[in-house]
Amino acid sequence: MLKVDNLTKVFNKNTINEKKALDQVSLHLSPGDFVTIIGSNGAGKSSLMNAVAGVFIPDSGEVVIDGINITNWAPHKRAGLISRVFQDPMSGTAASMTIEENLIMALKRGKKRSLRWALNKSKREYFCSELEKLGLGLENRLTTKVKLLSGGQRQALTLLMATLEEPKLLLLDEHTAALDPKTADKVIELTCRVAESSQLTTMMITHNLEQALSCGNRTIMMHEGRIILDIKGTERSNMTISRLLEMFNKASGVQMNNDRMMLAGTL
């Protein structure tokens, strides 16, 4: 399904700020895989997603989805294959437009847009039934402008928009980090439910180790641009948070006390 091979990206090459964000990263996902990604700040987690989403072109290596090499595709061209939810609840929706207008744009993700009138009754009914599943009462507010929604409501809407037209690959970059804990739990629960029910291939970055182990079927840990841990199957189901921290220390070397605290601190 997704094949990332030997991806390398160096930012600000040959300057004092040179930074190797990705160092020969390889990752293969099977259809329906849900991988959670953990690692300290600056480990390269977002860079991995950005390379997959086409935000930048890697220095070397390739990204292949379903046999198609998309390494050099512009981001908007990948939209038919990939959908994304960002950390900032403001970034996934158009604030001045209504809920139904945002949804109709998502329904057209990666498809040709025409001069046809965008909305109609059957689409509205479809949106209502999909919004109902969120359990936030948004189904009664189709013509409300998105800027009037709370952060959690906007993020739930963004998640619905990302999955309305099923992508090959769903990318979630700390998409609950800006929400209060209760709302975050709700959005995570929603995420797992949606990904499971449609068997979406998903990559989710999280700072929450408990989430990392409870969601999905595979967990990878990144450090200094490399994948240093990759657990699945029984190894993963037997994993505890404290053992995960321990493994992190072992794999990354003993000098990582700060990072350890950073990870532990988010629990």
Binding site: H76, A94, M97, M105, A106, K108, S114
Partner: protein, 301 residues
């Protein structure tokens, strides 16, 4: 005094300028792009139509060609901005400046008279059942009605939504697979097409085209958009379109009234700048007033 005849003339001009205001609305509000190309494309529309008409082209065709001339100007600004990464403001200034020379080339001299020539208005007058006294008014009204309706319909199509989203949240609509560069170029093209179309109408009403008739047009357009929005509101697209059209007409009446009150025509641009300044500052004044008034309900937009 403000005679009925002056009022009618003002209304006619207001309707024609409202076409330009629709164009400014597309860039300034929908795309969130302050486009100075307008100053050049307004003149370009007038110049193109005038030259074609005095050389014997059918005035309706000449008016249509003026529209397309404007779209080309918009495409250039769009390419400067999206492909060459020049700021929005500077891209518009570059096209506007280039157009000053180009417009003089088109006309061959600084102004062209359309006295005693056939225009869309003389054609319309000669239709059966059309009262000659109201021909200009009626044709301008029909034109604004149709164009306003088209803009409204367009902004509700799939492409229209993508255009609006480009002005609202570029990152979001790009991740939905929309090429936002193309959207900006499209928006600028349509906008400047409307502006040039407006210029060709004004030239045919005033019976001349002049190399400097577009000067100050952007600020007049902004003033009109803001006046309309403040008076009528923007809670939906339909309402916003009606608002900016009315804003264009009201703006012309304000100008006509102050001229009647004895202000020099040369002082108008100063007055317009002051109107825009007040309008731009007033939302913050308004929010401060409502903040002081605990019972004041917050209006949606």
């Amino acid at each position: 005094m403000f005679s009925l005849k002056i009022a009618q003339g003002t209304l006619e001009l207001g309707l024609m300028y409202a076409i330009m205001v629709l164009g400014v609305y597309l860039t300034f509000r929908v795309l969130n792009y302050a486009d100075l190309t307008v100053e050049g494309s307004f003149t370009m529309g007038a110049a193109t139509a005038a030259v074609l008409i005095i050389n014997g082209t059918n005035p309706w065709l000449a008016t249509l060609i003026a529209f397309f001339a404007g779209t080309i100007a918009g495409v250039f600004t769009g390419i400067f901005h999206t492909k060459f990464k020049i700021t929005a403001l500077l891209s518009g200034i570059l096209t506007m400046t280039a157009l000053y020379s180009i417009n003089l080339r088109i006309m061959g001299k600084a102004n062209i008279s359309l006295l005693k020539t056939r225009t869309i208005f003389t054609d319309f007058q000669s239709l059966p059942f059309i009262n000659a006294d109201y021909a200009i008014l009626l044709l301008s009204f029909i034109t604004v009605f149709i164009l306003g309706l088209l803009v409204y319909l367009f902004l509700n199509t799939e492409i229209g939504l993508a255009l609006r989203a480009t002005g609202d949240n570029e990152l979001m609509i790009r991740s939905q697979g929309v090429n936002t560069d193309i959207m900006k170029i499209l928006g600028l093209a349509l906008s400047n097409g409307l502006v040039a179309f407006s210029g060709s109408y004004v030239a045919q009403k005033q019976l001349f085209a002049d190399a400097s008739m577009g000067i100050g047009m952007i600020v007049a357009g902004l003033a009109s958009v803001i006046i309309g929005e403040v008076l009528i509101g923007t809670s939906s697209i339909g309402r916003a379109v009606i608002a900016v059209i009315c804003g264009g007409i009201i703006y012309r009446f304000i100008i006509a009234i102050v001229l009647q009150l004895g202000l020099e025509a040369t002082d108008l641009k100063l007055l317009t700048a002051i109107i825009v300044l007040i309008a731009l500052v007033s939302p913050s004044i308004k929010s401060k007033v409502t903040a002081l008034n605990p019972s004041g309900k917050v209006r949606e937009e």
